[in-house]
Amino acid sequence: MEKTIIINIGNTIIHIEESAYELLKSYLTEVKMHFANHADDLEIVTDIENRIAELLTEQLGQQKKQVVDTETVNMVVAQMGKVQDFETSEDEGPQPVLEESYQYHAQKKLYRDMDERIVAGVCAGIAHYINIEARWVRLIMVISVILGGAGIMFYGLLWIIMPKAESRLEKMEMKGEPANLQGFQKNLDEELQAVKERLKVVNQHAQPLFAQLGTFIGEFFEWFGTFMSGTGKVIFKLIAGFIVFVGFIFLISLLISLAAILGFYDGNAYHYFPLSIINYSYRNSLVFAVFIVLIIPILALVLFSIRVAFNRMAINKTFSYALLIIWLGGVAATGYYIAKISSEFKEHAELSQSVELKKMTVYILDMDKSMIFSKQDSLEYQIDQYDKNRIVIDNPEDNPFSAPRDLKIDIEKSDNGKTSLIQVYAAQGKTFKLALQNAQNINYHYQQKDSLLIFSPRLQLKTESNWRAQRAKMTLKIPIGTIIKIKHNSYRYINNYGWDCDSQEGNTHNDYSIWQMTDEGLKCKYELDHPAKTDQQN
């Protein structure tokens, strides 16, 4: 069995076996080449083709066959005669003319090599011209691109200027090969055209520049398209593969953290600020909803990347719609809980309480970071409350999220000559009642040890109560004339007074500043003792 080709030769349709076709084609190519420089090449070749067609038809009729095979072609070729025989018999020998053309073609020309190109064949073309391997030219080009990028301009310019080697003939000119018969293996029409071009058009490269530019732009986009579907595709796939990899790790870590938060974590995290807002009863649902909101887009990204990287759908449409619905559900649940929690900040309530302190002429105001535990806390943390030497220090107070430290301390003049502390606790809640309840949940500690007043820097909330903007305001009322030494660490809670008193002379070695209550409020003791000096300074 052999493949059959239908050819049109001399306006006759002939079925011919592929191998026979190759043979016939090469013969006709030789014939065309032989007469290429002949004045009447077309006519002669047409005559010969017509005759061949006639002979083939005749042979088919005689042999009662439908398809031309190699044997028939050989027979016909023998009758027509080999090209070498033409040369010896033909008086107007084309040989000298051909030799001339050999010399003409042996001259090299600068073309872009479209067969061995990487981008537009400029480097390969130059390499042919100066007869070195293309890789060295490319290397130089790449180096010049890296060193300042002049190579890009140069390359673009050459791309525009250099014509591309399209016909066989141009390719031979590019390589400096003589235009011999072996070189011509292309199909008949192209060959004929190339031969004619050689005869007619010597100066065809004098194309107008804008036409070259048009070709350049066209080719550039063609190249870009090839790049995007070739190398570019590979790059996209690599990126997609990377996303799949990272995405999987992220998904797994999210799953682990979900399991940890829901199942194993003891809930200590909920004592600290942003999480402490969440109501105990909502906690698991909200965590789950947020988890869904986070995980599904990542999952979608991973699935999309899989599609890009491996060219196939990882999931079907139904499943992706299901994912979308679940995600929307997660968003809705999250929104619901957030709205619900926000509503619990609607009402405001305050709780005030006044305590009389032991009267002293001098007070020292200090802050103590050590946590003061209730009996319940002590049991929880397994601290023996009778072990007096043990002190538990709170986590660093600089952490803004550990607990909003809404503590304010005011120092005011006492009207009744007694020392008292007014404690005001405030909180938000859905209703006034709930807000009040939240305010009552505040566990605030202070201590008086004779003249020493120790305040805790933070509010503690009772177990399982949520952060509802709980605030505490301590107003210390002291009679006129009372001296109060304020430790440095208390300044930030007493926003009325600052460091200005501290910088006064004679006060540099202490970690406190001395103040005295006057009729007009608290004054710096140093300023009261040295009024003149202060005036001068002012």
Binding site: G10, D47, N50, R51, F86, E92
Partner: protein
């Protein structure tokens, strides 16, 4: 090699004369010319004939008619033009001179 060259040179000149002579006998198709040449034992391939015919035609010695063929494309049937006949007469003359020259050369001048 030298013999071959000389043979080629001789054949080249004679071929054209023979072809013209064959055509002078009446309208004829290219492959029939070949057959005639073969019969005359002037071995030649068809491929050689076409350029020759084309050149003679372009020089005004020949003209042709398209004749429909039963087996394939239309055929070119060649005839001599007036110019062709004129030249053939001249060639006949030349041939006789040459034949005489060759005969004399081979057998020596008859006294």
């Amino acid at each position: 090699m030298i013999a071959e060259n000389t043979q080629t040179q001789m054949r080249k000149g004679i071929l054209e004369y023979c072809v013209l002579s064959i055509i002078s006998r009446g309208e004829i198709y290219a492959s029939d010319i070949i057959a005639e040449l073969r019969a005359a034992k002037l071995l030649v391939v068809e491929g050689t004939l076409y350029p020759l015919l084309t050149r003679l035609k372009n020089n005004g010695l020949l003209s042709y008619n398209w004749v429909e063929s039963t087996s394939g494309p239309p055929r070119k049937y060649f005839t001599l033009t007036a110019v062709g006949r004129d030249i053939l007469t001249q060639l006949d003359q030349t041939w006789h001179e040459l034949a005489y020259a060759v005969g004399v050369s081979q057998q020596g001048a008859k006294p």
